[in-house]
Assembly symmetry: D2
Homo-oligomer: 351 residues x 4
Amino acid sequence: MAPPLQLHDPQRRGFGSDNQSGVHPEILEAIATANGGHVGAYGEDPYTERLQSVIASRFGEGAEAFPVLTGTGGNVIALQSMIPRWGAVLCSASAHVNTDENGAVESVAGIKLLPIASDDGKLSPELIHDQSWRWGSVHRGEPLAITITQTTELGTAYTADEIAAVAEYAHSHGMGLHIDGARLSNAAAHLGLSLKELTMDVGADTVSFGGTKNGLLFGEAIVSLTPGSLHGFSHLRKADMQLASKMRFISAQLIALLEGDLWLRSAGHANAMATRLADGVRGMPGVEVTQKVEGNAVFAILPPGVFEKLRQVAYFDEWNEFTHEVRWVCSFDTTEADVDAFVAALGELLK
Amino acid sequence: MAPPLQLHDPQRRGFGSDNQSGVHPEILEAIATANGGHVGAYGEDPYTERLQSVIASRFGEGAEAFPVLTGTGGNVIALQSMIPRWGAVLCSASAHVNTDENGAVESVAGIKLLPIASDDGKLSPELIHDQSWRWGSVHRGEPLAITITQTTELGTAYTADEIAAVAEYAHSHGMGLHIDGARLSNAAAHLGLSLKELTMDVGADTVSFGGTKNGLLFGEAIVSLTPGSLHGFSHLRKADMQLASKMRFISAQLIALLEGDLWLRSAGHANAMATRLADGVRGMPGVEVTQKVEGNAVFAILPPGVFEKLRQVAYFDEWNEFTHEVRWVCSFDTTEADVDAFVAALGELLK
Amino acid sequence: MAPPLQLHDPQRRGFGSDNQSGVHPEILEAIATANGGHVGAYGEDPYTERLQSVIASRFGEGAEAFPVLTGTGGNVIALQSMIPRWGAVLCSASAHVNTDENGAVESVAGIKLLPIASDDGKLSPELIHDQSWRWGSVHRGEPLAITITQTTELGTAYTADEIAAVAEYAHSHGMGLHIDGARLSNAAAHLGLSLKELTMDVGADTVSFGGTKNGLLFGEAIVSLTPGSLHGFSHLRKADMQLASKMRFISAQLIALLEGDLWLRSAGHANAMATRLADGVRGMPGVEVTQKVEGNAVFAILPPGVFEKLRQVAYFDEWNEFTHEVRWVCSFDTTEADVDAFVAALGELLK
Amino acid sequence: MAPPLQLHDPQRRGFGSDNQSGVHPEILEAIATANGGHVGAYGEDPYTERLQSVIASRFGEGAEAFPVLTGTGGNVIALQSMIPRWGAVLCSASAHVNTDENGAVESVAGIKLLPIASDDGKLSPELIHDQSWRWGSVHRGEPLAITITQTTELGTAYTADEIAAVAEYAHSHGMGLHIDGARLSNAAAHLGLSLKELTMDVGADTVSFGGTKNGLLFGEAIVSLTPGSLHGFSHLRKADMQLASKMRFISAQLIALLEGDLWLRSAGHANAMATRLADGVRGMPGVEVTQKVEGNAVFAILPPGVFEKLRQVAYFDEWNEFTHEVRWVCSFDTTEADVDAFVAALGELLK
């Protein structure tokens, strides 16, 4: 048997997205260690059992974890578990669930989203208030949950106080609060707070905790912070096709991520690279960094004609086809040299 | 950093299911080889590109592959892609899609199943005919596709001729034919036929080709055999939450499985272990092997009182709570010693 | 302004279905009486309020009515209100919800049906038991409700004891019992029982009470018999597009049907006509009445070649394209002369 | 048998909504004329057949009509028929389908709406353009249809040119154009244009033509203007529970509405009453009419404390709980005296 062929250049990295990177070596080692022998499928295994205590240690006493396969799956099933069939969900207009999941929450869960415009991607009680009406009526879908993204799709981070304010608004109006935490670790690293301080302590009910964008092969964990907040989750996870048969391998990865400090090391490093990148380009002629850099992403507007040329140096995406804003995302494996070379190349192009 | 903890006994194997086993070492090696660097997410990577030619070499010219995360996902999206919103799908009453997917095809895809009773799990034109009516009416869902399982949930295998007959019936009545091939490799190994001979050559339109039950970490491939048979698949795969961001790792596994003979080696070995097991217990007092062993599973009825004791030797499941039939499934890593010890233990218990 | 043109022959009646007849004159009078002026829309009107006490007088203390537009709507929303998102529903294979609603319950409500074969269309605890399994698992949809049809699609009627037995089975297994009562009045007339004796008194939780097939212009009432059995019904009725804005006209019809004895007069008359028809044809050479006549429908097998000729006398449908069984349905406006002429015509054809 | 009881005051009218009024006498007469005898159910009747030519005479050669039960049903099934499973639909944020249908389009059809803020409820190519992006991607739902409301929920009317501009934008971007015409007759009356001039001539593909709000008992017609624009409509109408068994009574009403000038008489009268009302209150101290009156509705802001008192004179609703705007809707049966008394009462209250 010939060894498997490598079809890509393992030294080539870009700024396209943190899911264009691969698997952290420690995660791959955890998979190998969990391999061999037979264990119960569909979560009846010792890794998934152990994950519960790891999650509780990170998110707080009583937190429960439900591993799923994709971030979209996590968001959809979490929201579906939080509200009755007829409920609607308030979100930022730029939320992943609204713009990047191909209508999954509508088509799979039948949920109506009530999107709210926000310049920095964040929601506040004031913004939410405008769309919070018609409870007790059968005509508009009742707003019964709020979902926020941490860090946001625009690279900004909610402070703990900002989340607490949204949670208080939610609960005082009979709504639950879900956090799409695909990059929650990046927010925690930026703010210097624990995952618990950013979720359970400030009143969130459920979290989709992201693994794939922080060095996992695949796998996310839906975390219930409030008892009973995820009604029927196990049934819905199966019916929504997010129940992994060999779940031990998701759980083992999540344990490896969370038991030690890998989650924080990786996220903190990616954040630092993003800051380095933003610092490097800020002030260059015609370059405008458009959002605060509070995670691992940088948003910028480039002078005309630069986009295609710079993309030949390292891959990245146009974010907004109207404003021609671009997005640069750093990853656990982005190096200082990667950033510096990219900054230098942009500098050259602008000469 | 401490190395990851192993929480299970990698030498302990049972007969519960082929998804209770782990990952074949060659597959894990393929994952490691595909790691490192950045590649396009969501299938824009060289592994997914290469997979197309590997699939075409195995399933025939023109076959196209769409990697998905789970077998349920593969079945649901394949069927959803094959029929319009109002179509119904004929299946065996014992089909996985009918009994083991928690209504995913109904709740996610809104598809009505028309289940057909079958003693050995197989469908025939005669059985299908009874449920094939009301085309052109808006009252009953029009039957617009047939799905069969190979090998069936009862461990039996369709011959190529049997599939051809079903395909002919399907096409002559305006229906498409889908094969749930979670264990297609086992059927091919049993029959001594290529994957192409069991699918494209006999008229199947689409296949859910199983990887997880044949030694993959996770991952299946939906294969289109007839041009245009999977209408809108890419959109539906995303909307149905089965689009892996780091798809390179599914594709690399599938390449490792299919490019050489790993698919056949693993399946053939599992089949041989099942035959060895059936041969070992057949004729024991009170033991009745209830289905033909044409894949990697053995179905049997045990004398009263034996089930719980035998399960302490090695894990397996009761299949039917009414008949008290049990199911024993062998895997790529089941050893002759595993089988012989299990047979011997049953012999002891029956003394 | 010219008067409206009549495009059909108001003296021509057939045996096709009780929804091919029009509106009972007393019902039309009730509509006219409810007309004029403005009242609250969507059920905020005095007719819908009054309907509640009429329903309670017929179905028992505590019964609540929710008017809907169609029988399919009634069945789907009732079942959807009775079970969580992941539940499955047991039904007879010949049930309207399974064979005549184009997959509405699957596509609108995402519910999985578990159909059970039954020769006379009725379910019994024994038949139900075979499909009642896998509670507590996430793999098969949990059976959480049973729906039965009264009278059945095959014209047979459950006795009160038979329903009580099904209800007891349902409740002792944690399931709710729904009655599709599109022709419940016909069953009550046949059995000489009140609506309450056939529903609340024997343990049914919810009923879709049929109006359209018993002389209404349109309109059905979903009736909750057990407090809380229709969770979120009002929201789901709107989201499922069954909330009539001018609901006063459905409620006024239902009041006119149920406040006096119109429901019983009409159903009893239709039943008598069916019995007269069955009595007339039974014993004719080659004619076999295939089901007991316990409502307003007669099922029969005719000698070859007779179907098309007899249909020129009065319209009716082939019921089963395999057995060539036909169905004759009588209505509130079927006359003895209609029946006698039809019977005579068949007699002539058989000479 | 006692005559039916009248439970409401047929002389009491308000300004709550045009669906709080009853049935126009000519419509009731049409129902009575279509009554009696048996005709084919589910649209197989001479009234539904005749309706086709009536619709073609009003909307243009080739227009086809599909009667449905409710406006929500019409909108949802029309949109569902126009796009594949994964498509998204652009609409005004104030559109009925977005704010008043309890998520029906999301939960029944699985469609994602892309709402666009608009001060007067109207969309323009400029407004649409901002949300028109990401075709060819699987990440965001592809915008594949636009729906506009005529007259809008804010009482304004699109001119023919404005619709033509939206239609051109739609078609040049591969999208279809649907008009929610619950009050299309009011727009036509306001603009002095035929239904054809406002729909087929300006490029609309499909229309939900409203009957209930213009004097029907119940019933709307989905109209296909472009061949093939409503893919699978008949199947979806049944599966979505909007297929009336006694369809002759919807069709007969629509014929009575459209064959002569009843549609225009009723709509024109309601419009005139709204204009009279707006003219009456405009200029009163503290009263601001907030939208152009281009149909049968008036939007106004009242001085504090007036709302509850004025509502005792005649019923109407608060439209916006943030701005305290109110809505007054006139109907086919609103009289000049109704308007004058209401205006006078408001004048009194403001003194």
